[in-house]
């Protein structure tokens, strides 16, 4: 089991549930604890909702990776939306352009181990990894 495990397109609100379910199943299969499963599911939920809310369409990809630990789950959230105007602001707790809590992205960063974000006016790609320890 290496490389891309699954690919979930996000286009409607119900797809968020689908992505979360897929991610939780993969996390269970890889052997993550129930707390980490909840963290992963929550992070997917945030990322997928951001896609649905700001870009309307995109996809979530699940990959098994190797690195600081033998097994890690990498989640890639990719969209072709308008992009994030100010990334550093979007990573501050409480900052939201949509009237939400503004805890999404900084929250995801704390929920996961590795966090990487790239955004331009052609879209946003977020890579996060949770290592199995």
């Amino acid at each position: 089991m290496k490389g891309t495990l699954s690919n979930v397109p996000i286009a409607k609100e119900l797809d968020i549930v689908g992505a979360r379910q897929t991610g939780r199943n993969i996390a269970t299969e890889l052997g993550f604890s129930s707390v980490d499963q909840a963290r992963i599911a929550t992070a997917i939920s945030e990322l997928a909702r951001n896609i649905y809310l700001y870009a309307k369409k995109g996809e979530i990809t699940f990959q098994q990776v190797e690195g600081v630990a033998p097994v890690g789950l990498k989640i890639i959230a990719k969209d072709n939306g308008p992009g994030i105007k100010d990334i550093s602001k979007s990573m501050i707790d409480g900052y939201s352009t949509s009237g939400g809590l503004g805890a999404g992205l900084p929250g995801v960063k704390r929920l996961m181990d590795d966090f990487d974000i790239m955004s331009s006016d052609e879209g946003t790609t977020i890579h996060v990894i949770k290592w199995l320890r």
Binding site: L14, V17, V35, Q37, A38, D93, G100, L101, A103, G107
Partner: protein, 291 residues
């Protein structure tokens, strides 16, 4: 021409039915039916072919198609059963007609036979598919309504105390429904304390938390208080990781603990009348916990 083809089909109906049943068996269109008895499949096949013939005879003037489609949906058989059945019928019918007419090398005639058969088969197929999908859509929309009725119930358990158990995913639509039911219920039941139980909510992300915070704030505005209960350990950890502030209202791990707090807040108290004989309210609390 069309009349002639029709007569050939009707004359050879027994043979067509036989060949059709054999073909269906060969194609194994019914292999999904591992749990369905062979007998039931054969019976349905016969019913299917009778429906086709009665439609050819009456030129589509019967309700058989609708009833048959409904039956297939209710049995839970896939749409493929109907489409493959009709395709098999088309093949068998064309072959039978060609055999009856005898060898023909005339392409024109062959095409006109095919078109003639298609002219009956396609409308039947289309009607079957339409009926099948509309039946299906109907079921889906009924289930949606049923789910909506289940989605945010409000249960008055005691004077001034109401419980709202939430089960399943909370999306934007449901969040609206929860807010409405909550506020209407609080006013109708004259509740002082509302317990929102999220034991059955799989993931609490920022959106769900935001909706709960808003609902609790709205409840506060109408003069009541919210207690959030059913916070599982892993949910507590993710809420902390997300940095969500739930300090504005009390939260408890279980409904039982929340109910005790609610009793205190409404000035009620659990008193044991006869020690050792079991406590009625304790029993109620335990039975709530099991729900």
């Amino acid at each position: 021409m069309e009349q002639r083809l029709r007569n050939i089909i009707l004359e050879h109906s027994d043979q067509i039915i036989k060949n059709w049943l054999v073909k269906l068996d060969e194609n194994k269109v019914t292999e999904y039916g591992e749990t369905i008895s062979q007998e039931a499949i054969e019976q349905t096949n016969r019913e299917f072919v009778n429906v086709i013939f009665s439609n050819i005879e009456s030129n589509g003037g019967t309700n058989d198609l609708q009833e048959f489609s409904e039956k297939i949906v209710n049995l839970g058989w896939p749409l493929g059963y109907l489409t493959e059945g009709m395709q098999a019928f088309r093949t068998v019918a064309i072959r039978t007609i060609l055999e009856d007419i005898g060898e023909t090398n005339n392409n024109e005639e062959f095409l006109s036979i095919m078109e003639g058969v298609n002219d009956w088969v396609d409308p039947i197929k289309n009607r079957l598919i339409n009926e099948y999908s509309s039946n299906w859509t109907n079921i889906v929309s009924l289930q949606k309504v049923a789910l909506q009725e289940l989605s945010a119930p409000l249960i008055p358990v005691m004077e001034g105390i109401t419980i709202m158990p939430l089960v399943g995913t909370i999306d934007t639509d449901r969040a609206k429904l929860i807010m409405e039911n909550l506020l209407n219920g609080v006013i109708k039941n004259n509740a002082e304390v509302v317990l929102i139980d999220i034991t059955g909510v799989p993931v609490v992300d920022t959106m769900v938390a935001h909706h709960i915070i808003q609902a609790a704030e709205a409840v506060r505005l109408v003069g009541s208080q919210c207690i959030l209960v059913g916070i599982r350990p892993e949910i507590a950890q993710t809420i902390v990781n997300l940095g969500i502030d739930l300090r504005n209202f009390p939260t408890k791990s279980s409904l039982q603990k929340g109910f005790r707090t609610a009793l205190e807040m409404t000035g009620a108290k659990v008193i044991s009348e006869n020690e050792g004989e079991g406590d009625e309210i304790e029993n109620i609390l335990n039975s709530i916990e099991k729900e």
